[in-house]
C-alpha cells in the first residue's frame, strides 16, 4: 500500500508540472545553466584528451626521446655506429636514430626561408613514421654526400620563391652550401615527443652535417621500443649504456602527463560544477520554501484528509526532483550542443563522453534531494490546525 501511495503522489506531482510557476521556471533555468556548463566542459575535456591520445597513437606509444640532460659534454662521445650496435644487441629496442639540430637558412631566387635543419641517421624518418611524397630516403651509401630531404611546407615556400616548383635533383642553397634535393616529405603532424615539426624542416645525412657548418655532436637520440610494455626495460638499458644523467622522455610519460592534466582539469570541473550546483540548488530551495508557505492551507487540508508526514514530505521532494530533473535534462542537451559546436570549431572529431548522462542524472538527484529536503521536511512538520487556519 505504501508503495502505491508513493506512486500516486509521484503521478500527481508530475501532473502538477503544467501549473509550474514562473519562479519554478527560473530555478529550472538556473539548474539548466549549471548543468550545461559542467556537461559542456566534461565533453570538451573528454574530447581534448581523446584528440591528444589519438595524436600519440599515430606517432606510436613506443617512442622515447633521449636528451643529454646533465651528462658531461653532452653526446660528444657517441657515434651513430655505437648507437646502431647498441640497438642491435638488445631485443627491446627496435630502432634508434641520432639527430643534430641546426639552424638552416635557405636562399631562393626571391627570398630567404628560415627552416629547422636536422642532420639525421638512417632510421630517423622510419622512427618518426614520416613518408615521402617524392624521391628517396638516405641510405648508408650516401655517406657525407651533399643531399637534402625537405619538408612539405619548406618545399612549398621554395617553390613560391622560385620560378618553378621544386623537383628532385634541384639544388638549393642552405647557408653558403649547395645541396641536392633527393626527397620531399608528405605533410605530417608535429611530433609531440621529439618536438619536431617535419613540415618546416630540412634533413641532411648525419655524416654530412659538416655541409651545414656544424660539429658532429649529437643533440638528441630517438628510440623506438619493440613494444610499449618494453619501455621500462629499454629505459634501464639506455641508462646503463649512455649514462644515468641523460634525460629520457617516453611517450607513456607524456600520456601520463596528459592524464594528469586531465585529472587537474576534472578537479577544476568539479569545483565549478559544485558552485553551479549550489547556486542552482539554493534557487530550488528558495522556490520550494516559497511554495511551502504559499501552500500551507493545502498542506493542512491534505493532512486533514489523511496524508501522513512522509506523504507530504515526498510530495515536495518529488516536486523539487522534477524541477531539478527537467533543469538537468535541458542542461545536458545544451551542454552537449555547446561542446559539439566547440569541437566543430576546433576541428576535432566529436565523441560524446560516456559520463555525461550519469553525471547529469546524479547532479539532478543530488540537487533535488539535498536542496529539496529542507523545505519538504518543513512542510511535513506543519501543524495541521495552524496550516488550515492560515490565509
Amino acid at each position: 500500500m505504501a508503495d502505491s501511495i508513493f506512486l500516486e503522489i509521484l503521478r500527481e506531482s508530475a501532473g502538477n508540472i503544467r501549473s509550474m510557476k514562473a519562479r519554478s521556471v527560473m530555478a529550472l533555468i538556473g539548474i539548466a545553466i549549471g548543468t550545461a556548463a559542467v556537461i559542456a566542459m566534461l565533453h570538451v575535456g573528454y574530447n581534448a584528451r581523446l584528440t591528444a591520445l589519438q595524436q600519440f597513437e599515430k606517432m606510436g606509444t613506443d617512442l622515447a626521446n633521449v636528451l643529454p640532460g646533465t651528462r658531461q659534454n653532452g653526446f660528444t662521445d657517441l657515434t651513430e655506429a655505437r648507437l646502431n650496435e647498441f640497438a642491435l644487441s638488445h631485443a627491446s629496442i627496435t630502432e634508434i636514430a641520432a639527430a643534430i639540430r641546426i639552424n638552416a637558412e635557405i636562399t631562393t631566387l626571391r627570398t630567404k626561408i628560415s627552416a629547422v635543419g636536422f642532420a639525421v641517421s638512417d632510421r630517423f624518418l622510419s622512427i618518426l613514421r614520416a613518408h615521402l611524397d617524392n624521391g628517396r630516403v638516405f641510405s648508408p651509401l650516401d655517406q657525407d654526400a651533399p643531399y637534402v630531404i625537405i619538408g612539405s611546407k619548406v618545399a612549398m615556400k621554395i617553390s613560391a620563391g622560385s620560378t618553378s616548383p621544386i623537383a628532385l635533383g634541384d639544388q638549393i642553397q642552405i647557408g653558403d652550401k649547395i645541396l641536392t634535393t633527393i626527397g620531399v616529405l608528405k605533410p605530417s603532424p608535429a611530433n609531440l615527443i621529439f618536438r619536431i615539426d617535419l613540415d618546416n624542416a630540412v634533413l641532411v645525412p648525419i655524416k654530412g652535417a659538416r655541409h651545414l657548418g656544424v660539429t658532429q655532436e649529437i643533440s638528441a637520440i630517438l628510440v623506438r621500443f619493440s613494444g610499449a610494455e618494453d619501455s621500462a626495460e629499454a629505459t634501464k638499458l639506455i641508462y646503463q649504456e649512455i649514462g644515468s644523467e641523460v634525460s629520457i622522455q617516453t611517450a607513456q610519460q607524456l600520456i601520463a602527463g596528459v592524464e594528469e592534466q586531465m585529472r587537474i582539469y576534472s578537479s577544476l570541473l568539479l569545483a565549478i560544477g559544485s558552485v553551479s550546483l549550489v547556486v542552482g540548488g539554493v534557487g530550488i530551495m528558495n522556490v520550494m520554501l516559497m511554495n511551502v508557505v504559499e501552500r500551507r492551507q493545502e498542506i493542512g487540508l491534505r493532512q486533514a484528509l489523511g496524508a501522513r508526514r512522509k506523504d507530504i514530505r515526498n510530495m515536495f521532494l518529488i516536486e523539487a526532483l522534477i524541477v531539478s530533473g527537467i533543469g538537468s535534462a535541458v542542461g545536458i542537451v545544451i551542454g552537449f550542443l555547446a561542446a559539439w559546436a566547440f569541437a566543430q570549431m576546433s576541428g576535432w572529431q566529436f565523441t560524446p563522453s560516456p559520463f555525461a548522462l550519469p553525471l547529469g542524472a546524479f547532479m539532478a538527484a543530488t540537487v533535488g534531494l539535498f536542496f529539496g529536503s529542507f523545505p519538504a521536511m518543513r512542510a511535513s512538520k506543519l501543524d495541521p490546525v495552524a496550516a488550515l487556519r492560515s490565509i
Binding site: 502505491s4 501511495i5 500516486e8 487540508l301 486533514a304 484528509l305 489523511g306 508526514r309
Partner: protein, 234 residues
C-alpha cells in the same frame, strides 16, 4: 462511536497559559446528528479539531470507533483520520488546480485506492450530492453551494465513521445553507452517518436532534445528556 473523556486543551501564549477546553466529556452514539453551538472563543472549533485528531489534547483521551487515539503515533493518527473522519470546512478548502473529480478523489489517494476505483467511488459520491454532471469543472467554475457540496462528497467518499463540519453553511446564503443542511440530514437518516457540526446559525442548529452549547471551554447545555446516553458512555 465517539467518546471524549476529561479533555482539556491549554495553549502557551504571551500572557501565560490559556485554557481553551476544561475537562470536557462528550459521547456521540452512532447515527447522531449533533450541533455544537456557542459564542466565539467558547472552544467549539478546538473541540472539533481535537475530535478530528488534527490536534492533541493537553489532557484526556479520545476514542473514535475502535481506536483509542491517545497513544497513536502521528502517522497512525493520519491513517485513523483518513479512515474514520470526514471534514467539511466553512471555506470549502478545495484545491483550485484540481477538478471536482480530482478533489473528491484526494482522500482515497492517501488510502492507496487504485485510480479506476477512485474515479468510480468519486463519481458515486458526486452523484449523491447532486453534482454528477460537474466532475470536470474546476472550483472557480462552481457556485458557493456547489463547492460545499463537492467538499461534502470529498468527506463522504471514504465512508467515514463520523463527519465533522466546521460552520459548513457560514459562507452560504440561506437557500444554499438549507440545501446543505438537507444533505446532512438525508445522509444521517438514510445511511446512519454520525455528524458533529459547529454552527452559529440557530435555524441550522434547530434542525439537529441533539444540540450542545459551549461556553468558556466547557459544555453548558446538552439536550441529549439523558440517562440512556450516559449509560452508553459507561
Amino acid at each position: 462511536m465517539l467518546t471524549l473523556s476529561n479533555i482539556s486543551k491549554h495553549y502557551q501564549s504571551r500572557n501565560g497559559i490559556t485554557c481553551v477546553l476544561n475537562n470536557v466529556n462528550l459521547h456521540l452514539a452512532e447515527g447522531e446528528l449533533c450541533a455544537l453551538t456557542g459564542a466565539s472563543g467558547s472552544g467549539k472549533t478546538t473541540l472539533l479539531n481535537l475530535t478530528g485528531l488534527l490536534d492533541k489534547p493537553t489532557k484526556g483521551s479520545i476514542r473514535i470507533g475502535n481506536f483509542e487515539t491517545t497513544k497513536l503515533s502521528t502517522d497512525e493518527i493520519a491513517t485513523v483520520r483518513n479512515r474514520c473522519v470526514g471534514f467539511v470546512f466553512q471555506s470549502f478548502h478545495l484545491l483550485p488546480h484540481f477538478t471536482t473529480m480530482q478533489n473528491v478523489c484526494l482522500p482515497l489517494m492517501y488510502r492507496g485506492v487504485s485510480l479506476s476505483e477512485r474515479r468510480e467511488l468519486a463519481q458515486s459520491a458526486l452523484a449523491q450530492v447532486g453534482l454528477g454532471e460537474l466532475e470536470t469543472r474546476y472550483p472557480d467554475e462552481l457556485s458557493g453551494g456547489q463547492r460545499q457540496r463537492v467538499a461534502i462528497a470529498r468527506a463522504l467518499v471514504s465512508k467515514p465513521s463520523i463527519l465533522l463540519a466546521d460552520e459548513p453553511t457560514g459562507n452560504l446564503d440561506s437557500r444554499c445553507a438549507d440545501e446543505i443542511m438537507s444533505l446532512f440530514t438525508r445522509f444521517n437518516e438514510r445511511d446512519g452517518l454520525t455528524v458533529l457540526m459547529v454552527t452559529h446559525d440557530q435555524t441550522i442548529a434547530a434542525r439537529c436532534p441533539r444540540r450542545i452549547v459551549m461556553r468558556d471551554g466547557g459544555i453548558t447545555d446538552d439536550n441529549f445528556s439523558s440517562p440512556h446516553v450516559l449509560k452508553t458512555v459507561r
